[in-house]
């Protein structure tokens, strides 16, 4: 008899988390609706816009294209794990300093994606930043301030 609900044990932002889900529920559905981590947004729901970007076992993915049940035994990091209390991540501070946002819906995804970039390439070129973030769509800013904020954060994170 097929299971209608799956018991999933996972790690979200370092905390052990258990939830029940239906097989067709996405990781994004569960993060937002069951775990109430609403920082990850649903923009397109088809992997094109990147607003639901999360880390799955250290890989940047779209949470809308992952079944929640696939997270069983794996580790998820979301935008909610980026700041430590009131202490913002350098990328978050630089986005504010550069006014790299308007409506803000895409920003959690950009921040998660940019953090993944800087962990892998601490000193990216502007071209590398633009290609890395090509899967994050922003309909407000025109991207330029976002790219500048990421490059500025990279400098700060390298030099302390």
């Amino acid at each position: 008899m097929p299971k209608s609900k799956f018991h999933v044990v996972t790690t979200v932002n370092g905390d052990s988390v258990e939830f029940l889900c239906e097989p067709q529920q996405t990781l994004l559905d569960v993060l937002r609706d069951e775990l109430h981590l609403t920082g990850s947004k649903e923009g397109c729901g088809s992997g094109d816009c990147g607003a639901c970007s999360v880390m799955l076992d250290g890989r940047l993915v779209c949470a809308c294209l992952v079944l929640a049940v696939e997270a069983n035994g794996h580790s998820v990091e979301t935008i909610e794990g980026m700041a430590h209390g009131d202490d913002l991540h350098p990328l978050q501070r630089k986005f504010l300093e550069h006014s790299a946002l308007q409506c803000g819906v895409c920003i959690p995804g950009f921040l998660v994606a940019a953090k993944a970039l800087l962990e892998k390439h601490p000193d990216p070129t502007e071209t590398e930043v633009r290609y890395w973030l090509a899967g994050n769509l922003c309909r407000c800013t025109g991207y330029d301030k976002i790219v500048r904020a990421v490059l500025d954060a990279a400098v700060e994170m390298r030099t302390g």
Partner: protein, 286 residues
């Protein structure tokens, strides 16, 4: 929808063989989840193959590489030895989607989704890649070009799935390249794709060549006449033009918003010539 994540090839085959005809295999999910969520498909069973060891490894085998069907694009792109041996295959993989998509999308999924415009398929066909298929009758090996039979359709029988892809050992002075044309620089679907795989003699003469195309027919296609136009030549201008003419003759594309028939046919020749030039530079620089 029933979801299963078997740990072995045999259990996956049993599940797929016993399941309804519309059962689907889940690798990276970057096509399957989109189809599920759009309501394009409503399978009674989804079999996630990512917990099967053989689908998740890149291993050396007989001088070549065996790549699990569910290995992600990001993992393939980070494999230095694979990239050195098969730069064209790896660049085709890396062209798929965004960083986020690369974190999940796989060669097995790109092949079995059977899009005529899939980027890895022409590169794999040019490379002479062979699929290992598991099914109720055991395992069999098939050339990549025999898998897709039309848009969204494959030759896989009920209960079968692709476990891995094998890229053969390279003779000296061999290299491949893949190019696609899109009207922007990133995040688009190929209007035309061209994969070329060459081997040169010490003299520089071409001793083997395979040319494959994407997005100009209902499936990615091997163009044997294009390879034959290069073999035995020094890859000079007239040889490249004979190859391009064979490429253009093999195209029977659709007319759509991405390109007219006339445009796709012309661009296919251009892409094949340019990919050939890149493969040649790579082979000569070894």
């Amino acid at each position: 929808m029933q979801y299963e994540s078997p740990q072995s090839v045999d259990s996956a085959v049993s599940l797929l063989a016993a399941g309804a005809d519309d059962a689907r295999v889940l690798a990276g999910g970057t096509d399957l989840l989109v189809q599920l969520r759009a309501g394009m498909i409503e399978p009674a069973l989804v079999v996630d193959i990512k917990n099967i060891r053989e689908t998740r490894e890149i291993a050396r085998e007989d001088g070549g590489f065996r790549i699990g069907a569910a290995v992600s694009g990001a993992e393939i792109g980070e494999h230095a030895a694979l990239k050195e041996a098969w730069p064209g295959v790896v660049e085709a993989v890396e062209l798929i989607g965004s960083t986020q998509i690369q974190g999940r999308a796989s060669m097995g999924g790109n092949l079995c989704n059977a899009s005529p415009a899939a980027d890895t398929v022409p590169a794999l066909i040019a490379a002479g890649a062979v699929c290992r298929i598991a099914g109720p009758g055991g395992q069999r090996d098939e050339a990549v070009e025999s898998i897709c039979t039309g848009p969204g359709r494959t030759s896989l029988a009920k209960g079968e799935f692709v476990v891995s892809l094998y890229l053969p050992a390279r003779p000296p002075r061999s290299a491949d390249a893949y190019l696609r044309f899109i009207p922007r620089t990133e995040m688009d679907i190929a209007v035309v794709g061209a994969g070329v795989n060459l081997t040169l003699e010490a003299s520089g003469e071409c001793s083997a060549a395979r040319v494959a195309l994407g997005a100009v027919a209902p499936t990615a296609i091997l163009v044997p006449e294009a390879g034959e136009a290069l073999v035995g030549s020094m890859l000079n201008e007239p040889d490249l033009e004979r190859m391009a003419a064979a490429v253009r003759a093999a195209c029977h594309p659709i007319d759509d918003k991405r390109g007219t028939v006339e445009y796709r046919v012309k661009v296919a020749g251009v892409m094949a010539r340019r990919a050939c030039g890149i493969a040649l530079d790579r082979a000569r620089s070894q």
